[in-house]
Amino acid sequence: MFNPQDEARPIPELRNLQGERLRALVARAYANVPFYRAKLEAHGVAPEDIRGIDDIVKLPFTVKGEFREQYPFGMFAAPMAEIVRIHASSGTTGKPTVVGYTKADIDNWAECAARSLACGGATAEDIVQIAYGYGLFTGGLGMHYGAERLGAAALPMSAGNTEKQIMLMQDFGVTVLCCTPSYALQIAEVAEQMGVDLKKLPLKCGLFGAEPWTEAMRRHIEDLLPLKALDIYGLSEVAGPGVANECLEQHGLHVFEDHFYPEIIDPETGEPLPDGEEGELVFTGLTKEGVPLIRYRTRDLTMIYADGPCPCGRTGRRIARLTGRTDDMLIVRGINIFPSQVEDVLVSIEGVKPQYLIVVDRQGNLDTMEIKVEISEELFSDEVKKLEGLRDKIQHQIRVMLNISAKITLVEPKTIERSLGKAKRVQDLRKLTGQKGVES
């Protein structure tokens, strides 16, 4: 554990600390951010109404759209003289959401990223290859500062240039890898083409995040790379990577609750749900100075485990692997589908690599779903009937597991856009015709 005092703090003490920090946060936001002041007033809450962490339910939610309306600096609570860094989220629609960090914000974030690395067993002895993008995206710099805080050697690769990544991984004896799970698979794919046996490398753990992934994908990664694949969670509005991380138990991600307070709510009604029930994840950034964050709706769906303390000793509650997002759930012919379910099916079929794209369209009044799946050399046959058999098998499994019939199209390798950042898994063409639809 990187910081046992904070990570294994007894629960009653932790709740007191959270209460104190929440009080200060709300006071700070009210005093310095007109947006929050107006919102709290409209909601009939005053800073003095907040006495302990349980009072958090009195506060209104903050949503991404509001963040965007405050573009660029409307959410900032600190003057630019105190802001030392600015990140912005990859806005697929319209303006990005902009987050400013004070010196203390950067320190706290580095601390949490260091804790995340330590969750995977990393120490000052390790070489940490950071293959998240460096830039406005928080992945690269977040893990970089975390590695340095831990005292490990940060190897700032950024994403891309995969052959060089593999060369240095091999030559430097990299022990920890940080990237998106799909990029980890791409590294394995390219290493195979290069004739590099990754199994012989001294890798011990990987922190993979920034996109939803599945248990099946974890097994696949752990098959190809000699490491423990751990899930890391974070988003720029809250800080960046290191808000929560799995420990070696691989059973949920410990939230670093002294800085980030998690709640699960019913996405329809906004009502808080008890631990153990699935709903939308909401975060309050308890210590944030640059951009105070009050009850921010992440749109990620998960639950907080209610199965007692973790054997690792950390007392921060654990969130389950994200099952999807409230906004990337697809409704096709009335059936709820998450890309992660499609991925689970694909990975379960021998030889199929989880490189796919779901294309949803509407013909007349009927939704159509097509899944493009990349063919690999091990699956390819010179006989039509074998390829058609593979296609039919995928189609059958999708129908059995997801209860929907989809057209399966086998496509050439490397034709589905690869993720240096986040993989694009869904193309919803329905919205082009004014129909409700979402894209991830």
């Binding site: 010179d382 390829l387 199209t409």
Partner: protein, 143 residues
């Protein structure tokens, strides 16, 4: 006597076939025979070329999905009934043909048929027994 045939996966999109053939051309390889199997969604291009390894490397380097299959080339009299006679003998020997394609060879004035059998070794024995001449691989590559 087994001929190495290259198969390439093709998406059913315009320009894909041209792309593959450009990659073959750029590797400096000459095509001896080809056939294209197509379905509504995808195609499989099968090639016999003069330099198999060079061709495969060239295709893989340009990102194509390639597999190698062993096939047999059989010489057939270029006259009515030439192919029917051979097929009857194969059928009598209980040999299953996965697919086949034919071309006429200028040099020998004979027709050449490429067969993909389920069981290639049994096919060789049966063809030899039936007195059907299998063309040596080297000769096919250099036609």
């Amino acid at each position: 006597m087994k001929v190495r045939q290259i198969s390439i996966f093709l998406e059913n999109r315009s320009g894909r076939l041209a792309g593959v053939l450009r990659a073959v051309a750029n590797s400096g390889v000459n095509i001896r025979a080809l056939s294209l199997a197509d379905t509504s969604d995808f195609g499989i291009l099968r090639l016999i070329v003069d330099d198999v390894d060079r061709c495969v490397n060239g295709l893989r380097d340009t990102g194509h999905t390639v597999s190698l299959t062993e096939v047999l080339a059989v010489e057939i009299p270029d006259q009515p009934g030439g192919l029917a006679g051979v097929l009857e003998k194969l059928s009598a020997a209980n040999l299953n043909v996965e697919y086949m394609y034919a071309f006429v060879c200028r040099a020998t004035e004979k027709a050449m048929v490429v067969f993909r059998f389920e069981a290639i070794d049994e096919a060789i024995v049966a063809l030899q027994k039936a007195g059907i001449s299998i063309v040596p691989a080297e000769k096919v590559y250099t036609l």
